[in-house]
Amino acid sequence: MLIVDESIEAKIRDKHFPLTAEDVRQAVVYGRVISAGWDDNDEHGLRLVVRATTYAGVEFIAYLMPANEGDPEEGTFVLKTAIPKPST
């Protein structure tokens, strides 16, 4: 499960056009994941970094925070942000 906060949805829509949180959610839940890894960041803590592509073909890297810090592999994540690959 991927939880998307309204503020994150607005941030992605405003700062990372043409990406939307819904596109990211669909790609992470249903799409092919290119690669993923655990990033243990001093400031942000443990995050799952996921690279995938939306249905519309926008490649992105999303940062997901485990919803349950005590059990990060439980399967529920909170979307923190998603960065689209710049078009060349």
């Binding site: 998307v4 309204e6 941030k11 596109d23 249903y30 249905y55």
Partner: protein, 148 residues
Amino acid sequence: MGIMSVVTDMGRNVEDEPEPTWDEAVAALKAATPVEVVRSPREVTVVYRYTDGIFTATSPDVRGFRTTGRSLHETRSLVQQDLSQFLDPAVKVLERFPVPDREIRTSAAGCGWLKAASLPGMIVLSSSGTARTFVSSARASLRRVRAS
């Protein structure tokens, strides 16, 4: 299938947080401990509609997905090609086909001609109510079908 949940704001102003650049995100992913993402069984629904001689497929689960074809067979084939580019192979695709309009069902012989032009793919019941014919070709709109 609505997996996305909206939770209340957690009190942090995300507008003020600096966003990583694409290069920084790539670097973070390269430095991360690789994992294989294992996801629970999932399914997406594809809904087919028939209007004015064209079959249209959309999905409430995949925003922006829309495929059209002149026959149901062609449309299903295009849907399979299109979604296979995007979907994780483990995702099951559920298909919902046009439902017959009850008004075109006949239960007795001699009910006359049925106009096919506005039918979304059609099921014609015989007088016994057991034999069914599914007309999915675009040509169905050009001819009339007699209910037996």
